[in-house]
């Protein structure tokens, strides 16, 4: 009775080893071995699962569960379903509002994440704090360094070692509902002016110091990444003057824009593309006076409980056939020319997702020091409590 549950297995452990030794001795064919052990059936099933064929055979035990920390509306949900079908590993998705929040959780420890999605300017900090592992590229055969755009991959590398692989890049501009706001907007200067005029009580800024303070600095002709006290004082003056006219300080702006409670918001590429796709009168604009360009990466935490599955999922996501679905779903531009070739024409020609090079020129990458600067954190607190 005790062994009854084993009766359903195709073969016992002892039987498997016997067959395996016979195969090694050459006394049976490989076909006999695969049939006798049930592995042949498993392989046949696996090969029917989309995406499973291009992934290498999993030498290690992947377990049955892993978790990933990422951003809202950032993946094709089918990706994780397909990964589960291919590997048996269920992926738990944790959604975050800011890089700081991710960093705080990793600093506190025991997050349980085996993969996460940090933005370019945080990787140096994660490395410095010893929170991420160098990636073993041998376990990531689907990644192709040659087809990546170096502009968007360089911050994943520190001292010649690869710590993170790019997921997608993007920009921080603003979305405007043109059926409500008639004035043409082309710059952050316009954004903060219209917020106090035509869009009074209808504009949103991020609950995020990097972009909110950075864009305010840009509108004043100052550097996006500035941490100079005199620059920050000017940005603070502007933000506190604008605050009574704002609808909200919140990074979750899609619901308010869709309900037309808000008419204008600071906005990331992918949200801009999603809003414009569903509501064409919402336009996405890059400030001609500047703003942010960014890359989101995949990295594996040092204390990841299931590194094998983390690597397997990362390799799966680096498969261009999988990545193309991800980009179609989340609307952010790809860093990988192999994916670019596979993407439908209407996505590649979408100027929100792939702006002209000239529109990108004034944009800056956020800097690591901007993220951790206490002066900026205090400014944000004063802005919010004013």
């Amino acid at each position: 009775m005790a062994n009854r549950h084993k009766e359903n297995l195709p073969i016992t452990a002892q039987g498997f080893m016997d067959e395996f030794m016979r195969l090694k001795r050459g006394s049976v064919t490989r076909r006999h071995f695969l049939t006798a052990t049930g592995l042949g059936l498993a392989t046949a099933v696996m090969s029917r699962v989309p995406g499973a064929i291009s992934t290498p055979a999993y030498a290690e035990d992947l377990g049955s569960q892993m978790s990933i920390a990422t951003w809202p509306n950032y993946h094709d949900p089918a990706t994780f379903e397909n990964f589960k079908a291919a590997t048996g590993v269920a992926v738990e998705v944790n959604v975050f509002g800011s890089n700081e929040e991710m960093l705080a959780k990793l600093q506190a420890g025991a997050t349980g994440w085996s993969l996460f999605v940090p933005t370019n300017y945080t990787i140096a900090t994660y490395h410095k704090l010893g929170l991420i592992d160098e990636l073993d590229l041998a376990k990531l055969p689907n990644f192709s360094a040659a087809s990546e755009n170096p502009r968007f991959t360089k911050e994943g590398q520190i001292d010649g070692k690869t710590y993170a692989l790019p997921k997608n890049w993007g920009t921080t501009g603003f979305a405007v509902n043109t059926s409500k706001i008639k004035a043409p907007l082309t710059s952050w200067k316009d954004f903060f002016e219209i917020a106090q005029g035509e869009a009074d009580g209808r504009a949103m800024v991020h609950d995020y110091q990097l972009t909110t303070i950075g864009s305010a600095l840009v509108s004043l002709g100052l550097d996006f990444n500035s941490i100079k006290p005199e620059d920050l004082a000017k940005a603070e003056e502007l933000l506190i003057k604008v605050k009574p006219h704002l609808f909200a300080i919140n990074s979750d702006y899609q619901p308010a824009m869709r309900a037309t409670d808000a008419w204008m918001t600071m906005c990331w590429t992918n949200d801009g593309a999603q809003l414009n796709r569903d509501i064409p009168e919402i336009h996405y604009i890059l400030g001609k006076d500047g703003g942010e360009i960014w890359t989101d990466y995949y990295a594996i935490p040092k204390d990841a409980p299931n590194k094998a599955a983390g690597y397997a999922l990362l390799n799966y996501l680096m498969d261009p056939k999988v990545a193309v679905k991800e980009h179609t779903a989340n609307g952010a531009p790809t860093t990988d020319s192999r994916v670019l070739e596979l993407l439908p024409k209407e996505i590649v020609s979408n100027k929100i997702v792939y702006p002209d090079e000239a529109a990108l020129t004034p944009l800056e990458f956020g800097a690591a020091v901007t993220l951790t600067d206490p002066g900026r954190a205090e400014l944000m607190a004063r802005f919010k409590s004013a």
Binding site: S98, E100, E101, L103, A104, Q107, T125, K128, L129, G201, D207, Q209, K243, L246, F247, A248, I249, N250, P255, A256, A259, T260, D261, T372, P374, A377, E378, M380, A381, R382, K384, S385, A386
Partner: protein, 278 residues
């Protein structure tokens, strides 16, 4: 021995989940922010000296918490009075349980529901249909106050209900027999005797409001900044754990003071020390 065994689990729970974390918070509050955020050991009073940097958040909280509690009281008292005095005793238990039913749904979900009710497609849309155009409700201090009254109402109703239910009806009859107007009976007898419940409710709601952060975030659009919001930002955004800890310790001190003051008032008005606030 039996006492120790009975108290053991509760004591262990309190030590692990209340006393130890609180000690950690006190230790953190004397430390420094590490350059990349978090905590590094030190012995400094700098965090407490810097409390002024969140003065606006303390001021917002210390004004909105009592206002919220009073608004709750104004709505809760008539409800509690009806339940305890006027309602048909056969239906009383059903009505009281109806007060508690909303607690079965997560506060977050109920607050999100208000976001939609107050947003442009909700009540303002209906008002627009009857001629009041461009009414803005969401992301205003009024919306925050509404959220507070809605969320904390049961915590105010129940203690007042309990104290009104214990009210000796013969006192009301005596008052009427002696020719008192119903108004004087209500303000001379019912209200004073229900004050312990009122004070309990105010203390409960005020204390919980001092730590509130969800309602200002969701219904205030992030523009109304409570001390709870300051704490969330310090721990999760700027990762200044020592300063966050100093604010948390100060907040605990404020809560204890509020509780002591409320207890004193309750003792005085009730004329006895037999008043339990918790």
């Amino acid at each position: 021995m039996v006492t120790a065994m009975l108290l053991g689990p509760a004591a262990a729970w309190l030590v692990v989940f209340l006393v130890l974390p609180f000690i950690a918070i006190i230790v953190f509050s004397f430390g420094e922010r590490a350059p990349e955020g978090g905590y590094q050991p030190a012995f400094t009073l700098a965090q407490f000296a810097n409390l002024g940097a969140r003065a606006a958040a303390f001021a917002n909280t210390l004004t909105l918490a009592p206002i919220g509690a009073l608004a709750c009281l104004l709505v809760a008292y008539p409800v509690a009075y009806y339940l305890a005095v006027k309602a048909d005793p056969r239906h009383r238990m059903l009505l009281v349980s109806l007060v508690v039913v909303p607690f079965w749904t997560s506060m977050l979900v109920r607050t999100y529901a208000w976001m939609y009710l107050l947003g442009g497609r909700g009540i303002p849309h209906l008002l627009d249909l009857v001629g009041f155009s461009d009414v803005r409700l969401l992301n205003t201090p009024g919306a925050v106050l509404l959220g507070i009254v809605y969320g904390y109402l049961p915590l105010m109703i129940l203690p007042i209900y309990v104290s009104l239910e214990k009210l000796d009806r013969r006192l009301l009859e005596a008052s009427a027999d002696l020719g008192a107007h119903p108004f004087s009976t209500f303000f001379g007898i019912t209200v004073p005797l229900s004050l312990p419940g009122v004070m309990t409710g105010i203390a409960l709601v005020t204390i919980l409001l001092l730590g509130e952060y969800l309602i200002p975030q969701l219904l205030g659009g992030g523009k109304v900044f409570f001390i709870g919001n300051a704490l969330v930002d310090l721990f999760l955004q700027s990762r200044n754990w020592p300063f966050g800890s100093a604010i948390a310790v100060t907040l605990v001190a404020v809560v204890v003071m509020v509780l002591l003051i409320a207890m004193r008032i309750a003792w005085r008005v009730a004329g006895t020390r037999q008043v339990d606030l918790m």
